[in-house]
């Protein structure tokens, strides 16, 4: 199976481990990811807030290139996904557009292509004993008019994948709350409050880690824990995984350790305590 792949800026930069783990999982599933040739910025974060025409055209250019490829377009970054879906929806209304491909986030891709079943067969090392909450954030499923998601308040796909990997996804009410990702630079006070609440609720639910499918959520949640701990007086040390990392780990991918090393909160300590990575001390690398 082949599919187009739009990494966006994050997966080429801050979220390298998302990119690598996504590609690794694809290889294990026999899916060839073809990076969209000559792709450009999706327009998230600033363009769509300042210039509607520019924002639309940035996305449309990418969609046009994808049309020439004739394969489903996988967009791992939730922000990029949202922009491209919004543009797709807008232009498909005009009629006459090429609908030969779908814009999908990796979760949709796995379920729509039936690969989720195959995934289970490839599990080599079930993530038994790992308790997590899945966090979808705001853009992966919402607004439903754009994403077409049916369960936009309580999405399930990530939870089901994680369960198939042998870990225990704990249901919680904050799957689609906002982490404040778009206010990172302008209103850090709000971001601190929103992410702080997510940590609190995740721990309340009994989770040992949070699983995400968005580079903005990941960096926001991963990088702020020390600061929030300092200010709130609580000690937060919650690993923030990309779901692809956990799939890769369960399939026994040898690069998993490399991905985990890039995290602010090192997940290897938790994983070692579950016997999921080789047990050595990860106190300070």
């Amino acid at each position: 199976m082949k599919a187009s792949y739009y990494p966006g800026c994050a997966l080429h930069g801050t979220a390298l481990e998302y990119d690598e783990s996504a590609r690794a999982v694809a290889r294990l599933l026999d899916v060839e990811l073809v990076e969209l040739p000559d792709w450009n910025c999706c327009g998230a974060s600033s363009a769509h807030a300042t210039d509607e025409v520019l924002a639309l055209n940035l996305a449309v250019r990418n969609l046009t290139i994808a049309g020439t490829q004739g394969m489903d377009l996988i967009v791992p970054c939730a922000a990029c996904y949202s922009r491209l879906k919004a543009a797709e929806r807008k232009i498909s209304g005009d009629g006459g557009r090429d609908n030969s491909f779908r814009v999908l986030n990796p979760l949709e891709f796995l379920f729509l292509s039936g690969l989720s079943v195959r995934l289970q067969e490839l599990v080599k090392r079930p993530l038994t004993g790992l308790k997590v909450v899945c966090y979808y954030g705001c853009l992966l499923v919402r607004p439903p008019d754009v994403t077409g998601a049916k369960q936009y308040e309580h999405p399930e796909e990530m939870d089901r994948l994680i369960q198939l990997m042998g870990a225990e996804p704990i249901p919680w009410s904050y799957k689609t709350d906002c982490c404040g990702g778009s206010l990172v630079l302008t209103r850090t006070d709000i971001v601190m409050r929103l992410t702080g609440k997510l940590f609190e609720k995740a721990i309340e639910a009994g989770a040992e880690a949070i699983v995400v499918a968005c580079p903005l959520c990941q960096s926001n949640l991963d990088s702020r824990q020390e600061e929030i701990s300092r200010e709130s007086g609580n000690h937060y040390e919650l690993p923030i995984f990309y779901f692809t990392e956990l799939i890769g780990l369960a399939m026994g991918h040898r690069d998993a350790d490399k991905w985990f090393r890039r995290h602010f909160v090192d997940p290897r300590k938790l994983l070692a305590s579950k016997g999921l990575v080789r047990g050595r001390s990860y106190e300070k690398d």
């Binding site: 079943v117 289970q120 308040e153 309580h154 198939l164």
Partner: protein, 1486 residues
């Protein structure tokens, strides 16, 4: 029974179809049937009762819903002229008003309603558990079920969606879902029975079946298919571990004989089936053992010998003559031995030796021979290195067998792993045991060692090319890749075929090109008559389960052949196969019904153990594993046809072969009453219904509150069973939102009710209702709401809630809202109840489509304000929630109204299609000593399993005056009714006592029976030894028997004293009096006239029209003036209506059917004496003229009606209007008038919109407390907001203040949202003043009918008799009842007509029976009875003694119990009888 079927005049049909058996449908049906029409009442469910039956209590009276609906259920179910059709939908309607032809579709119920006694036994044994639909899915039910205990018809039904895919995929149709369900119930013997229904080899198939069931399993869409095979094996493991019970041999009953050649699975299956139907059967087997390929082809480590022997013995012991070591060498010989039919089922035991060089060398083996020799303990000599060619299941058997013989084994296969046909688990096991696999490797030659023994094998590598005819890619040799490997043995395993040497061409049995026997695939008949063939011998190698299937079919075919029937099997109806989609499974996940749970993996022996012995590899499931695996079943078909119900049912009422049936009926009119569905709040994901266990919808909570609900009325949190303390009710879920832009009308009140009832159940509960507007607009609603808030302490918070969040540890629910002070507050609740709105059901929408009836934009039936009950298609009427969201009384009123409309249209055909029952003459039993017959019911095992019924019967026979006693399996069954009638004749019984269930459901049936036998109905008595005895004392059998004796003694003691009672016939004056000439009165008068009855219409004013004269338009823009004009003309033009204007009623007397009214008209001195059979009160109401807000002091202050008039006539020039302020609730909802006037919100919005239409620049402000724009009025409220009308709330405690300083009006109002005062300077101040009832103090006293404290008339029952007075024959409608809008008054007026027609359509009425009678000698005229009678019946007559009019008495007995002189007796419940009962129970002789 006499039935006259003829069409009325004008070709109109005197029958009506009522669709929907809820409270509306029942009411319409009863009204019609009671006024001379035949009714077909269809209900798509299995019982009538509708939504109301699900409710716990009803508002605002807190009556028990079931208690008040139950009598209606019984009446509907037993009515001679209502043909009740459950499980029925309308398929098609043709024709026109007056003469429709309706095609009905009766769906199979699988239980014959006529035979079912409702005894519960089928449900007790049904293993299939599904969410209980009556309880909204919060509890479970069985696939065999009765909708609810009081259901009518009192019969069970089976829910069957179709065939589960597992069963469909199985060649033999194994009911996998059924035995899985039984495993879950720990009923292993039953599970085995279910497997054996279709397959005599459960232990075998539980091990080696190729399980197509699993490949078809819907569960694979969620996680993995169920391990069905392992579950099957588990059942046999458990049952076979117990000592085997000997099988009873069957004595042959047939004279023809059958021979079967081959004792494999096919032959033995056929032998079993044929022996069971009575044939002598001989099985000839060539081998020394039975079981065929199972026994000699499958290795021991996969299928232990004991299992085969056991299952073969179970068949042979039925009486099969099995002859081992008896090869058939010539088929003709068999016929010569006198067999009439022969089945050839010799299997395919000959392996195939491919024609390659060296294939004949020593050491080359053939799979079947090799396996057989090992299995029969004569293993061949093998060298160290064995090569197996092939990769099917048999190849795996060969390879793994060779491993166990201690050899090094290599498998060579010419294709790749993907194409290998063996079970993947077999390949996995073989690999684990050390077998080496070489794919894409094909032998070309076997090399010899010089002694003609195998020394090696030459192979060629292959590659895959294009797909071949089998769909698999064709292997092609790779040139130059030949190579040799050394080996000692080669085992070919490339296929098997039958050995057919015993069938020479001369015997006349044709073969196919593939060397199998040619047979007709349907009949298994070979080309020679009497010869049949089945199994591998006809198809080539297949699996056991296919052999079993062909064995069954061949046996059936042979049976038909020997019986001389047509050989082709009869066609059976096919149910749909239930293949679930991903979406459907996801929906179940979302609703929390299914969770992702991987398959349980069966334990196996370690590889080391396996290599050493032939012990069975797979170890089977443990109890826990089997339970876990069985629990994964999705029960796709719902009913699995496990037949548990079929075997238990003593009435033989179960019929799994029922099919859908079409029926045509002729009707003159159709009434649609399909009801509503509650909004599926799972769609409002933000509230977490289905996800958070402690979030319920209101209907589910209603069931929680109900004593008959899943928690028996205990309020428990689903998550932990604890009593919740804080409960939040969230209003407007699925109402007043973008997808449902209407108000559901009832939720404010039902939430209030549920909050009150919850508090009544558990004092410590603290309910909070979060709402937008409190819409308590109905009669008595506001008082109810105030009581909830005041007396009961229900907290109301005005805030729409946007989401519910769950604490994952405690399962508490957090809600964020803006509190009174404007602060954002987060509060935690133990439980959340969603007040879900009403939506039209999907089936109702489809119905409308089929009937070409238009729907409104929201999917409800489209109606018009002036014809609220008529659909867009002439002759088809609508009532209830399908017309628009509404509560019970409005539904009932509309139902009667629709019945009135239908019967008006068909009045010429009245009485043409009704049946009248004729009875034999009554036997005079006076002067006879009591001769009592007692019938004791076992009710299947319901009574019989607890109470000693034979002992009870004997005991009954010993009691005084009992001359006959018998026991019955079901006393209520039809055959027992015949027995009772016979016994009455034979033993000259004059009293009958039945000891069984409840008189509530069954007394009328038995009364009918004895009446048919010539006995008076009242000579019957019933003892309730089931509901009140065996059911409640299930575990105390002896005490239960004692109690049953006591109950029966009491009944017999009473029966000795019962006397026949006769009803009297009284003539009916078929004429009506209508009091009030407004909208309702005129509508009632014309309605009655259309039905053909004369009417006196009495109006106290000098003009007809009432309030309608002051209205100009309706809120939806209809012309009221024109409508009034037409209505008035109709009244005046109709010769049957006599109008009295300026008339006063001065006297009123008589009773139903015979009233006398005295009128004085204007200044005329003479009084009119009117005689009439019924009376309709339609006295209306008026707009209040207030004494506040400067009304009457400042000409700029108006009422709404004055404004409407000014706007309509041009008296008010809107172009000059800058600002208009309206104030709601002026004179309503205050201490003086604590009721809501209902119409003023709509009136204000209507006038505001009129102003905005005339001058959009005029600012219009409406000061309100709650905007009560219920139902579809909501859209006008939204329209007003869009038009710029401003709505500003005020609080009752801080009313707006008006002043007129400096010539300008100033209005100051406190705005609770802004929390500050705002002021307005309106050009006009418009007051929405209260609606007050007409002055009816005198009239109420004259008619002796009650009024509410507010001065409106009080109906007989707030819910179910909204237009009846308690006094029979007097009805009310319109604003005399309570304030209402035009369409509501029209519906009620039509309802009053319909109710009146139930009297007027009769020549006579029957009165008396169970009524009170006065012994005038004893009466002291103390007035006790007069005061105590709730119906105002007793009067003191001229002789100074109490008199009770039989026609009015309701038989409640209050007067009899109060009368100090014992002058009053309630017939059939005399003191003597009650005392006899008491003595019977208290003298302890039982």
């Amino acid at each position: 029974m006499k039935k006259i079927e003829q069409q009325g005049d004008n070709g109109k049909v005197g029958a009506v179809l009522v669709v929907g058996g809820g409270v509306g449908g029942m009411q319409a049906a009863l009204d019609l049937a009671n006024s001379g029409f035949k009714v077909y009442l269809t209900e798509e469910g299995t019982a009538i009762g509708g939504r109301m039956a699900q409710l716990d209590k009803t508002f605002p009276t807190n009556d028990c819903a079931m208690c008040i609906i139950s009598p209606k259920l019984v009446e509907t179910g037993r009515h001679l002229n209502i043909e009740l059709m459950t499980d029925t939908e309308v398929a098609k309607v043709e024709g026109k008003a007056g003469d429709f032809t309706v095609t009905l579709r009766h769906k199979p119920r699988y239980i014959d309603v006529a035979k079912c006694t409702g005894c519960t036994e089928c449900a007790q044994v049904c293993p299939v558990i599904i969410p209980n639909r009556f309880d909204g899915g919060i509890a479970t039910q069985r696939a065999a079920y009765k909708l609810y205990p009081q259901a009518v018809p009192n019969a069970y039904a089976i829910e069957k969606k179709g065939i589960a895919p597992c069963r469909h995929a199985c060649p033999s149709g194994q009911r996998a879902q059924g035995y899985i369900a039984l495993i879950r119930e720990n009923r292993y013997e039953d599970a085995l029975r279910v497997i054996k229904e279709d397959n005599p080899f459960p232990g075998i198939c539980g091990r080696i079946c190729n399980h197509r069931c699993e490949n078809a399993c819907n569960r694979a869409l969620l996680d993995q298919a169920l391990d069905i095979r392992a579950l099957k094996r588990f059942v046999t493991d458990i049952v076979y571990a117990k000592p085997r019970r000997p099988v009873q041999a069957i004595t042959p009953t047939q004279t023809t004989r059958v021979a079967i050649v081959g004792a494999g699975p096919c032959g033995l299956t056929a032998a079993q089936d044929l022996v069971r139907v009575g044939y002598p059967v001989t099985v000839f087997e060539a081998l020394p053992v039975a079981g065929g390929m199972l026994r000699v082809g499958v290795p021991e480590y996969r299928l232990p010998k004991e299992i085969i022997e056991r299952e073969v013995a179970d068949i042979v012991d039925l009486g099969v003559d099995l002859r081992l070591n008896s090869p058939v060498t010539n088929l003709d010989d068999v016929f010569k031995q006198g067999y009439d039919a022969v089945l050839i089922a010799v299997g395919a035991h000959e392996g195939i030796r491919p024609p390659i060089p060296g294939a004949d060398l020593d050491g080359v083996l053939i799979n079947t021979v090799f396996l057989r020799d090992v299995r029969l303990n004569r293993p061949p000599e093998l060298g160290d290195r064995v090569v197996v060619i092939g990769s099917g299941d048999v190849a795996m058997d060969c390879a793994r067998t060779a491993v166990r013989l201690g050899k090094e084994v290599h498998v060579h296969y010419r294709r790749s792993l993907n194409e290998a046909t063996a079970d993947p688990l077999e390949i996995e096991h073989a690999q684990a045991e050390g077998v080496t696999f070489h794919y894409l490797s094909n032998p070309v030659e076997i090399l010899a060692d010089g002694k003609n023994r195998v020394a090696g094998i030459r192979l060629v590598r292959m590659e895959l090319g294009e797909p071949d005819e089998s769909g698999r890619r064709r292997p092609m040799p790779v040139v130059g890749s030949e190579h040799v490997i050394p080996c000692d043995n080669v085992i070919f395993s490339v296929g098997q075929r039958a050995g057919l040497g015993f069938i020479p061409e001369s015997v006349g049995v044709g073969l196919t090109r593939e060397a199998t026997i040619a047979v007709n695939p349907n009949t298994f008949a070979a080309t020679r008559a009497g010869v049949f063939a089945a199994g591998d011998v006809t198809k080539g190698t297949a699996f056991v389960i296919e052999a079993v299937d062909s064995g069954h079919k061949a046996a059936a075919s042979i049976h038909r052949y020997l019986q001389g029937e047509d050989l082709e099997p009869p066609l059976r109806p096919q149910l749909p196969v239930i293949t679930l989609t991903k979406e459907e499974i996801n929906e179940r996940v979302v609703h929390g019904e299914v969770h992702v749970t991987p398959r349980v993996r069966m334990q196996a022996r370690t590889v080391e153990e396996r290599k050493r012995s032939f012990d069975e590899v797979n170890l089977g499931f443990t109890d826990e594993e089997a339970q876990a695996e069985a629990a994964r079943c999705l029960a796709c078909g719902v009913c699995s046809e496990c037949l548990s119900c079929y075997y238990i049912c003593g009435m033989k009422a179960i019929d799994h072969d029922m099919v859908e049936r079409l029926e045509e009926v002729k009707v003159g009119s159709i009434i649609l009453s399909p009801g509503f569905e509650v909004y599926d709040a799972v769609l409002s994901q933000e509230y977490g219904l289905g996800l958070y266990p402690n979030v319920l919808n209101a209907l589910q909570f209603e069931r929680v509150l109900s004593a008959s609900g899943p928690t028996m009325g205990h309020i428990e949190r689903p998550s932990d069973g604890k009593t919740p303390r804080k409960i939040a009710f969230l209003q407007c879920v699925g109402s007043r939102d973008s997808k449902h832009p209407y108000c559901s009308s009832v939720c404010c009140m039902y939430a209030t009710k549920e909050a009150i009832i919850a508090k009544e159940h558990e004092r410590e509960i603290e309910p909070t209702i979060f709402f937008i507007d409190m819409r308590a607009y109905g009669k008595g609603f506001d008082a109810y709401f105030e009581r909830a808030r005041g007396e009961h302490g229900v907290r109301y918070v005005r805030c729409m809630i946007s989401r519910v969040v769950e604490d994952p540890r405690t399962k508490h629910l957090q809600i964020t809202y803006v509190d009174e002070s404007g602060e954002i507050t987060e509060e935690t609740f133990d439980m959340v109840v969603l007040s879900v709105g009403m939506t039209p059901s999907r089936s109702a929408r489809e119905l409308a489509k089929k009937l070409s009836v238009d729907l409104n934009p929201y999917g409800f039936a489209k109606t018009d304000s002036f014809t609220p009950l008529a659909t867009s298609r002439s002759g088809i009427y609508v009532c209830g929630a399908f017309q628009g969201p509404k509560d019970i009384p409005e539904t009932v009123a509309q139902a009667s109204g629709a019945a009135g409309a239908a019967s008006a249209m068909l009045s010429e055909a009245r009485g043409t299609m009704v049946a009248v029952k004729e009875y034999p003459e009554q036997r005079d039993v006076s002067g006879e000593v009591p001769r009592i017959g007692v019938f004791v019911c076992r009710c299947g095992s319901n009574i019989g399993g607890v109470v000693d019924v034979p002992g009870l019967r004997e005991y009954a026979a010993s009691l005084p005056d009992v001359v006959y006693a018998e026991e019955n399996l079901y006393t209520c069954s039809q055959d027992t009714q015949v027995k009772i009638r016979k016994a009455i004749e034979e033993y000259r019984l004059n009293r009958v006592v039945v000891a069984s269930c409840s008189p509530r459901t069954h007394e009328p049936l038995f009364q009918e029976t004895i009446r048919e036998a010539g006995l008076n109905r009242y000579l019957f008595e019933m003892a309730n030894i089931r509901d009140q005895c065996s059911w409640v004392h299930m575990s105390q059998k002896e005490d239960a028997t004692l109690k049953a004796r006591g109950l029966l003694r009491m009944s017999i003691a009473n029966a000795r004293l019962v006397r026949p009672l006769e009803k009297q016939s009284k003539g009916v004056v078929r004429r009506a009096l209508v009091i009030g000439g407004g909208l309702s009165g005129m509508t009632a008068a014309t309605g009655l006239a259309k039905q053909g009855f004369e009417v006196f219409l009495v109006e106290k004013q000098g003009e007809l029209g009432g309030n309608l004269r002051h209205l100009y338009t309706t809120v939806d823009g209809k012309d009221v003036r024109k409508f009034l004009q037409e209505l008035r003309e109709q009244v005046l033009d109709d010769a049957r209506i006599k109008v009295f204007l300026n008339a006063d009623i001065t006297n009123f007397s008589g009773y139903v059917g015979n009233f006398k009214t005295t009128l004085t008209v204007g200044s005329e001195a003479a009084a009119y004496e009117l005689e009439h059979g019924v009376t309709i009160v339609a006295t209306g109401g008026d707009e209040l003229k207030p004494r506040e807000y400067l009304y009457g002091e400042d000409r700029r202050v108006l009422t709404q009606l004055e404004l409407e008039k000014g706007l309509a006539t041009g008296g008010i020039n809107t172009s000059e209007l800058r600002e208009v302020v309206m104030v709601q609730c002026v004179g309503s909802r205050n201490e003086e008038r604590p009721y809501c006037s209902r119409v003023c919100c709509a009136e204000a919005v209507k006038n505001a919109l009129s102003i905005k239409a005339l001058n959009p620049k005029t600012r219009v402000i409406i000061l309100y407390r709650d905007m009560r724009m219920y139902g579809f009025l909501e859209e006008h409220y939204a329209r007003a907001r869009h038009a710029g009308v401003r709505f500003v709330r005020y609080e009752e405690t801080r009313k707006p203040q008006v002043s007129a300083a400096n010539g300008a009006l100033e209005l100051a109002a406190y705005n609770p949202v802004l929390r500050e005062s705002v002021s307005f300077h309106p050009d006009l101040l418009v007051l929405s003043t209260a609606t007050v009832p007409a002055d009816t103090v005198q009239l109420a006293a004259t008619l002796k009918v009650p009024r509410t404290t507010d001065g409106f008339f009080l109906e007989a029952h707030m819910k179910l008799r909204p237009v009846d007075f308690a006094s029979e024959g007097i009805y009310l409608c319109g604003m005399a009842h309570s304030p209402k809008l035009i369409d509501e008054s029209l519906s009620q007026a039509s309802a009053a007509v319909s109710r009146a027609c139930t009297i007027l359509s009769r020549e006579t009425i029957q009165v008396g029976g169970v009524v009170s009678v006065v012994d005038q000698e004893k009466c002291a005229a103390c007035l006790s009875c007069v005061r105590v009678c709730p119906y105002n019946v007793p009067t003191i007559n001229a002789e100074g003694a109490a008199e009770i009019e039989v026609a009015k008495c309701q038989g409640c007995g209050l007067c009899a119990s109060e009368c100090p002189a014992k002058a009053i007796t309630l017939q059939h419940f005399t003191d003597e009888q009650i005392i006899a009962r008491c003595e019977a129970i208290s003298d302890g002789r039982y």
